[in-house]
Symmetry: C2
Subunit: 151 residues, 2 copies
């Protein structure tokens, strides 16, 4: 799947979820393959709505069985690390958090992940659209468990 194909597929899933995007947002959907070149299995499609010093909101699109690999958001300066809430909009998402049993989120269900806590997640067979509400997002400081990953 090329980046263009992934972007079109993600835009179609967002439209099906009833989520309106501006043309610029649609064209700018971020395709994250985490440098592994295996987007079908390990990756994430992202629309960033807002990311200020204090607040961030995104839509995450996961293709069927696609996985966002294990990582944590460490403290940065005065910031204790990113706190994030995932809210499932469509599909099913399986969320794995350090110290918790597997959490299964269906549409309307959500979970809040504390800062600096290892987590990874995977969509079910239909893929998923997940809203993320968080403090400031700083992808460049995320710490991934797989040493091959650099963002």
């Amino acid at each position: 799947m090329t980046g263009k194909e992934a972007r079109e597929r993600a835009a179609a899933m967002l439209a099906e979820a009833g989520i309106a995007l501006t043309p610029a947002e649609r064209d700018g959907i971020e395709i994250a393959d985490f440098g592994l070149g295996n987007l079908d299995e390990i990756g994430l499609q992202i629309v960033v709505y807002v990311n200020t010093d204090r607040v961030c909101a995104k839509e995450l699109v996961l293709f069927p069985r696609q996985t966002c690999p294990e990582h944590r958001h460490p403290p940065v300066g005065d910031d204790p690390g990113k706190e994030e809430t995932f809210r499932c909009r469509t599909g099913v998402v399986h969320l794995h958090i350090e110290g918790e049993d597997e959490i299964v989120l269906r549409p309307g269900e959500q979970w809040t992940i504390p800062p600096d806590t290892l987590h990874w997640f995977q969509a079910g067979d239909e893929g998923a659209v997940v809203s993320e509400f968080s403090t400031r997002s700083r992808d460049e400081t995320d710490v991934f468990t797989d040493p091959r990953i650099a963002r």
Copy 2:
């Protein structure tokens, strides 16, 4: 319109927008008439998804031509005041911010309001569903221009 009727109407508008709620969220939709007893004209229906010390996310439902009255979010202790982004999901919302011309938000459009800045907003003829992404929400410290209003 009774509170129960308002809650059912708001739930129907959210469902039509494709937004899934849990049964507890649907039953708990907050009806804010700002103590004025004139909900049809001045009021807001609210689903709070999350409100931690750092991050808050809500859906706001506005009935046709319903208005959220002018207010600001002042500094509280170390907090410089609530920063909020409004993103229109369905319908049209007319946003009035101190020092700005009227802003009209259609589905997929958004605006970020700095802390401690006067603002009010009104839905168009079809009503509106608006997502709010913000820092911590503390309704009790909001300052309304109309002295009759207490939250």
